[in-house]
Amino acid sequence: MHNGTGSLPFVQFKPIKNFTSPSSVSCIGLVGVLEVKPRPKPYAFIHSILGFSLFIYTSMNDMEHRKTNDGEGRRLDGEEEEEEEDEDEGNGRGLDAWERAYADERSWESLQEDESGLLRPIDNKTIYHAQYRRRIRSLYSSTTTARIQKGLIRYLYIVVDLSRAASEMDFKPSRMAVVAKHIEAFIREFFDQNPLSQIGLVTIKDGLAQCLTDLGGSPDSHVKALMGKLECSGDSSLQNALDLVHGYLNQIPSYGHREVLILYSALSTCDPGDIMETIQECKKSKIRCSVIGLSAEIFICRHLCQETGGSYSVALDESHFKELLLEHAPPPPAIAEFAIANLIKMGFPQRAAEGVISICSCHKEAKVGGGYTCPRCKARVCELPTECRICGLTLVSSPHLARSYHHLFPIPPFDEVSLSLLNNPHQRSSRACFGCQESLLIPGNKPTLCVACPKCKQHFCLDCDIYIHESLHNCPGCESFRHSKIVSVTEE
């Protein structure tokens, strides 16, 4: 007797899209349809459900490297229930994950050959250090003793290209997602190094430029806007973005440095007018435009950067993009005519005592304790640095100013110690790194590569060199010897 009432679905299974990784199989839910057998007994159903689900689970665990576009579905032995499976094709590429690793990620590029032709893995440490030395040398090549003036109060607009090209998937998961993630890290790093500066965000979509967030000094509002839903479509228009940014940057005070950073994914620009005129106007307003391209080098971007004095670079992959982006965090060398030196009135508020209740001016609600009091109008603000909403005074604390002092007093780059000097048995000081006490000798008492400070002549290992110049900005040797400090001051 055939059951004509239709099939009762009680065990459901739906295969997960990509079966290829065994780990995805373990959390499977089962969707399907069981044809009801005649003579149904409750217990028989339960047994069949459990047996069926166990069978599916174990058999799927055995399957490895299945192709997802296997059209005829799985024929499982045992139960003769017919299962219908929805097999989505995924992105239709028809490749397994292990095949995609070769097609997209090009894993052969991470191999290197040594002198005799044998393969060896890449020694990341020396490469990293060599890159760092190149960067430091290019920064310091022209400024051995002179101190370059840097623009410390910066007003930066970040222009994000959300055109069709930003949905390309050569950066995983998509260019737009990668850009958003790295901009968030950049914003935090930027405010860490330039606490008195402000950032604004602009997007280009459908040929129009829109302001995502206004110029502000607090990272949270920008990060929140970035984490919201961003969609890409349409063309990209460089001229509209430049016009918009030019209009906003004309309103800022004259002592600030005006900068624009464009993250461009498209290969073209659709402009309503003459972009060369716009570029000339930006140049006249002293706006420094830099571009980071994600696809290929474009002439108009190169021209824009050359005219305005910015830098143009094209990212090769995600880590390179992050590196290029973070290079814009420290203040660039300032061109003196670009910003007029001025005295800016600032307030240094005191922290309010614990237990004081007042209405804060940023959230407009009563708060207990914490907070700072503006010295001019006595309004309460929650955090620093900020602008008092009542009287407009810029409020900072002395550590915020101190964060920028290392740009004004940089430490000189360390010199590499030549191996011939190291092999000299009279050199006692090269036994251990002065900063971290790590031994500078590899087994066999042969010295490894190390660097030395030109002022105090102490030896440091390569990792300490990178840490000292990128994060600490103090030479431990110069700081630990009082008399070397006095000598260096009187030498200038």
């Binding site: 003036q149 008195l196 005519e337 005295l343 240094f348 964060r403 600490l472 700081e479 630990s480 010897f481």
Partner: protein, 297 residues
């Protein structure tokens, strides 16, 4: 050393870097004699090593002319002859190295210096501590939680302000708290700011005879357990700045947009960088007197 299995590195393993102030100018006039101070500190260090077998202690001495590493509990004790039966090898190692350091430091003291008399080189020892901690971070994912404890008595040297602030910001980025225990007579503004910015504890004990009790109740706890304890909160950290012209603490001032120097009154020209205010410059003014001006807190 054999690699330790990962489940032994629980949350409360700590690496404590102690910066010990050995400035003779301070200790000659201090209310607590240096020998008694050392006995409190040595007992404290022993108790840290007893709390957890994986804890590490590193001691750096802050002298008035130099700084150096004195003791590292993770290094293999080289000389077994130092165990003379009266005190354990930890103490005798440390004391011997400390004595060598102090005699060496005194020899470096050439002539009486006008600037910085009475202050020790806090910036130097902080920088060395941070470099050592970076080395610990590089050893891989299994490492103890580092923190720095400053036992400071000498007053702050204003010429070290920029270097100390650099070290504080670097510690904040690496998430290393700086605890301070001030033995001297007056509060230290540098250490108050350091502890506030990095999330450490600042304490000025009122009774120096009970120093060991202060150390073991406040500073011996590891970072994980601090969430469950009520530790001394900062009473009020003064973040106001001092003007460069009169060195007064000011509430509102004027900042040069080029070099960020602080002035209390409107000037025509910046005395640090030489930029003229209010008009466009024709060329970058690289002033002759551009040596390291020391802005004070």
């Amino acid at each position: 050393m054999a690699p330790v299995p990962s489940k032994l590195y629980s949350d409360d393993v700590s690496l404590l870097v102690v910066l010990l102030d050995t400035n003779p100018f301070f200790w000659s006039t201090a209310s607590l004699p240096f020998s008694k101070f050392l006995s409190h500190v040595l007992a404290f260090l022993n108790s840290i090593l007893l709390i957890n077998q994986l804890n590490q202690v590193v001691v750096i001495a802050t002298g008035c002319n130099s700084c150096n590493f004195i003791f590292d509990s993770s290094s293999v004790p080289a000389n077994p002859n130092l165990e003379n039966g009266r005190m354990p090898a930890l103490c005798s190692n440390l004391l011997q190295k400390l004595e060598e350091f102090v005699t060496g430091d005194e020899k470096l003291s050439k002539e009486v210096l006008a600037a910085g008399i009475g202050s020790s080189l806090l910036s130097g020892s902080l920088s060395m501590a941070l470099c050592y901690i970076q080395r610990v971070f590089r050893t891989g994912p299994l490492h103890p939680q580092p923190r720095i404890l400053c036992l400071q008595g000498s007053p702050d040297g204003p010429e070290q302000y920029v270097a100390v602030m650099n070290a504080i910001f670097s510690a904040q980025r690496s998430m290393v708290p700086i605890d301070s225990c001030v033995i001297g007579a007056q509060h230290s503004a540098f250490l108050q700011q350091a502890s506030y910015i990095t999330g450490g504890v600042y304490l000025k004990p009122q009774q120096l005879d009970g120093l060991f009790q202060y150390l073991s109740t406040v500073f011996a706890t590891d970072l994980h357990s601090r969430r469950f304890l009520q530790l001394p909160k900062p009473a009020g950290v003064d973040f106001r700045a001092s003007c460069f012209c009169h060195k007064n603490t000011i509430d509102m001032g004027y900042i040069c947009s080029v070099c960020l120097s602080i002035f209390c009154k409107h000037h025509k020209k910046c005395s640090t960088c030489g930029s003229v205010f209010g008009q466009a410059q024709s060329d970058g003014n690289s002033a002759t007197d551009r040596k390291r001006k020391t802005p004070e807190t």
